[in-house]
């Protein structure tokens, strides 16, 4: 086989492998996206529900001129960063521990996956009841075992926000733990043994061997984790009962939800959604460049 035909065959093979996935994604995502793009330049709302028309960038101007946008944006960033950091740290930590020869690790591993397996709604509502000022488990533990005064988890903005974050951390770490567990399997034992012989400490081995070799597998999980957390409407909505207290517990997506479905401002919500999308797009481009995750290994 000549070099040309070999190369052509390789490329064709490559495309063929990717094609089915590409077709499906294209069909499912592109149309809704463009529909929304058009809506974001329109005045679709209660009074213009069936007969909406294009009005230019007015919705975007509205999005950026509301000062609440910036505070909610900030909250969303905090929400995302805190959640992902904890998810990854806890997940990797547990995965490393569970990767050793331990008795009962199979059982523990299975139990630790429960937060991922159980439906989110009932769990979020259970956590909400655990945050109840008088009857919730957390305050009871705090006042009886730690002898501190109970926290008004759901009645004060910062506390309510923390309550949502705590719940989401609980829900999200099993996923990172599973990915890390998978990733750890790609690291040959001999590397650790060799380092051990050379006198490297456990900590050293972790940073010099585990972390770099886990990167290719963790990077997709982390980047997508960031995006999913940023856009996660469920937990914030359920734990804070729709933004309480006083509409202070919102992230961008729950704010969009309220705008669109409570007040029928579809054009505005579409514009806000596009802005969220652009924020995430910018971030991802930067993130990918930094971690060079889109390059192939060869």
């Amino acid at each position: 086989m000549t070099l040309e035909t070999e190369k052509l065959k390789s490329t064709a093979f490559a495309y063929l492998l990717v094609l089915p996935a590409a077709i499906v994604m294209f069909g499912v995502v592109v149309y809704p996206f463009f529909y929304n793009l058009v809506l974001s330049f329109s005045n679709m709302s209660l009074r213009h529900f069936q007969d909406w028309s294009l009005i230019g960038v007015r919705q975007y101007i509205k999005v950026f001129s509301e000062e609440v946008f910036y505070s909610v944006f900030f909250k969303t960033v905090v929400w995302t960063v805190v959640n992902v950091v904890f998810h990854v740290v806890i997940g990797v930590l547990l995965a490393v521990i569970l990767n050793r020869r331990l008795m009962g690790k199979g059982l523990i591993r299975t139990l630790l996956i429960l937060p991922w397996a159980i439906p989110q709604v009932i769990v979020a509502l259970t956590w909400r009841s655990m945050f109840n000022y008088e009857y919730g488990a957390l305050n009871l533990a705090i006042s009886q075992y730690m002898h501190m005064s109970p926290v008004q988890w759901l009645g004060k903005p910062l506390e309510a926000f923390s309550a949502c974050i705590i719940t989401n951390i609980w829900l999200g770490f099993p996923f990172m733990m599973t990915v890390a567990l998978g990733g750890l399997q790609s690291i040959p034992h001999e590397l650790y043994e060799a380092a051990g012989i050379d006198g490297a400490s456990g900590w050293h081995r972790f940073w010099r061997i585990t972390v770099p070799l886990l990167k290719p597998v963790m990077i997709p999980a982390i980047s997508l984790g960031i995006i999913w957390t940023f856009n996660n409407v469920n937990i914030v909505w359920l734990v804070s009962n729709g933004g309480e207290p006083s509409d202070q517990t919102h992230i961008l997506v729950s704010y969009v939800y309220k705008a669109a479905f409570n007040l029928y401002r579809y054009g505005y919500a579409a514009a806000l959604s596009m802005v969220i999308f652009l924020i995430l797009l910018t971030f991802s481009l930067y993130f990918l460049k930094r971690t060079r995750a889109s390059e192939s290994a060869y």
């Binding site: 069909g27 547990l94 259970t126 961008l252």
Partner: protein, 270 residues
């Protein structure tokens, strides 16, 4: 040191189990109470009537069956497509590759709430309302980005030299892929399968918009039937939620035997 590790694991296990035990309490509590002033795990007057009603008087088992059909299909599709596409991204450099990878990521960035309206219109026009095909396609595409990217990442850790030597020995590209690379990528396939399954198993929003016939309902839709803005049947809802988690855990148990390392340094020579 060992004891320290066990202690840490125990602490996390307790943290994980406590809310779940709370859900169990709700399912055993009489008269549909989400909250209780008592912290007892087994409540006063505990009853299993919620479970009895769930299995005997609601279409729960039918929904279970429907969910299994959809989730298994999505899992198989997801694994098949991600395993191959991920390999392509890992081993080849082709025109549009960077864009395609970024494109996968991009599909996840749009807030899901606003996609409902166009998705419904599209499905209505394609006559896919109230059919499983639309749902399977949408679920597969939701799970794919992570799975493809993740498979690629894992393939990146498998040295190319293994396939090279296989090809020198006379294998075709496809054979090398199937016989050498895939088995080594087992842990990543496990994660892909698990993730695809979970995505389909727990999804509510799209299913709610598409499925209009109660006999076609999946479990999340079915559970929602017990929910009512101020009259939720908490006992049934909690019991249903717990049963719903069992297949996911079972799948994890089943797949975790493949979460083992297949690669040793010795297999790469020189």
């Amino acid at each position: 040191m060992r004891i320290g590790l066990y202690f840490l694991l125990l602490a996390f296990t307790i943290l994980v189990l406590y809310p779940i035990l709370n859900v169990v309490s709700i399912s055993l509590r009489p008269a549909d109470r989400l909250l209780s002033t008592s912290l007892r795990i087994i409540p006063d007057g505990a009853t299993i009537s919620a479970y009895r009603t769930l299995f005997l008087e609601t279409p729960f088992l039918l929904w279970f069956f429907n969910s299994v059909v959809i989730s298994v299909t999505v899992t198989l599709t997801g694994v098949a497509l991600a395993a191959t596409a991920g390999y392509s991204f890992s081993r080849f450099n082709f025109y549009g590759k960077k864009g395609a990878l970024l494109g996968l990521l991009v599909t996840q960035m749009f807030p899901p709430t606003m996609l409902l309206l166009p998705m419904y219109i599209m499905l209505l026009k394609l006559h896919l309302i109230n059919s499983y095909l639309g749902i399977i396609v949408i679920y597969s595409s939701t799970a794919l980005p992570f799975c493809v990217w993740q498979m690629k990442g894992y393939y990146d850790t498998i040295p190319f030299s293994l396939e090279e030597s296989a090809r020198i020995d006379g294998c075709t590209r496809w054979q090398a892929f199937r016989r050498i690379v895939l088995p080594l990528a087992a842990p990543a396939l496990v994660i892909t399968a698990l993730f695809s399954f979970m995505t389909a198993w727990a999804e509510y929003i799209v299913a709610a918009q598409v499925l209009q016939d109660t006999s076609l309902f999946t479990l999340p839709l079915g559970l929602k039937q017990f929910e009512s803005s101020m009259s939720t049947q908490w006992g049934l809802y909690a019991a249903g939620s717990l049963i719903v988690s069992i297949p996911a855990v079972a799948l994890f148990l089943f797949l975790s035997r493949w979460l083992v390392s297949g690669l040793t340094l010795g297999s790469v020579k020189g």
